[in-house]
């Protein structure tokens, strides 16, 4: 069962680049990371990125193919898989698996824009609708 592997801080940043670009060379990743880097922060060395890429490949998070004698890496897992795994982890570790508890904390302690709250309400409404639909289907199924 290849459950999504655990990733470190920088490893995740690398994955972000890969998810955003579909696939990338080590050089592209290095440049991208250094471009995003906040001012004052020391740039990451290319060899560091290469090392981490090999570690990522070793644990099955990325794969590579050779193109023009250069390694082109691509992610093995979808971003959503990793994201969901990490979220479930956080939920279990600190919020007693209570999603509402987590969200309550977020809306209380993070600054949330009105638009974001709108989207949030939308998401909840949709989930509720989906659940109702499923309930109806089950009822109908059972009633005949």
């Amino acid at each position: 069962m290849s459950s999504t592997p655990k990733l470190g801080r920088v490893q995740l940043q690398i994955m972000q680049v890969l998810w955003a670009q579909e696939s990338a060379t080590a050089r592209q990743i290095t440049d991208e990371l250094n471009r995003q880097k906040p001012v004052g922060a020391p740039p990451i060395a290319h060899s560091t990125v290469q090392t981490l890429l090999r570690k990522l490949e070793a644990k099955g998070a990325v794969s590579h193919r050779v193109e023009e004698r250069i390694f082109v890496f691509e992610p093995v897992h979808e971003q959503s898989e990793v994201a969901t795994g990490a979220a479930a982890d956080l939920l279990a570790r600190l919020f007693n698996r209570s999603i509402s508890g987590l969200v309550a904390h977020l809306v209380k302690h993070e600054k949330v824009s009105p638009e974001e709250l709108d989207r949030l309400r939308e998401v909840v409404a949709q989930a509720e609708a989906a659940q109702n639909a499923r309930a109806n289907a089950t009822t109908a199924e059972g009633s005949r």
Copy 2:
């Protein structure tokens, strides 16, 4: 600037016990952790817990007082502080700071009970109400 320190996996478990009990001795924590441990998992050694407690104290996550020649530990930070920090971290790392994105993932990939969805809607509604109240106050202020 004592921002909440970063905690490891087992370190967090220790903190959970401390948060639940207000304060505890190393022995109590060891026993509690081993009680909660899933069957088949090897129990944690007492000295391991002691070591981690000292590391936690070194980084300012817990403090101790001596009572009857025995160390009694207690958490330095509130659980909510640590939880909020960790949540903000996850949000930044994987969800581009989008709370709705996070919640969308959760309701999609975790099984959410109808009650939990209810609470969730409640939380969002309350946040919205709070925001509207603030907006109204601002408008009233500006319109006269």
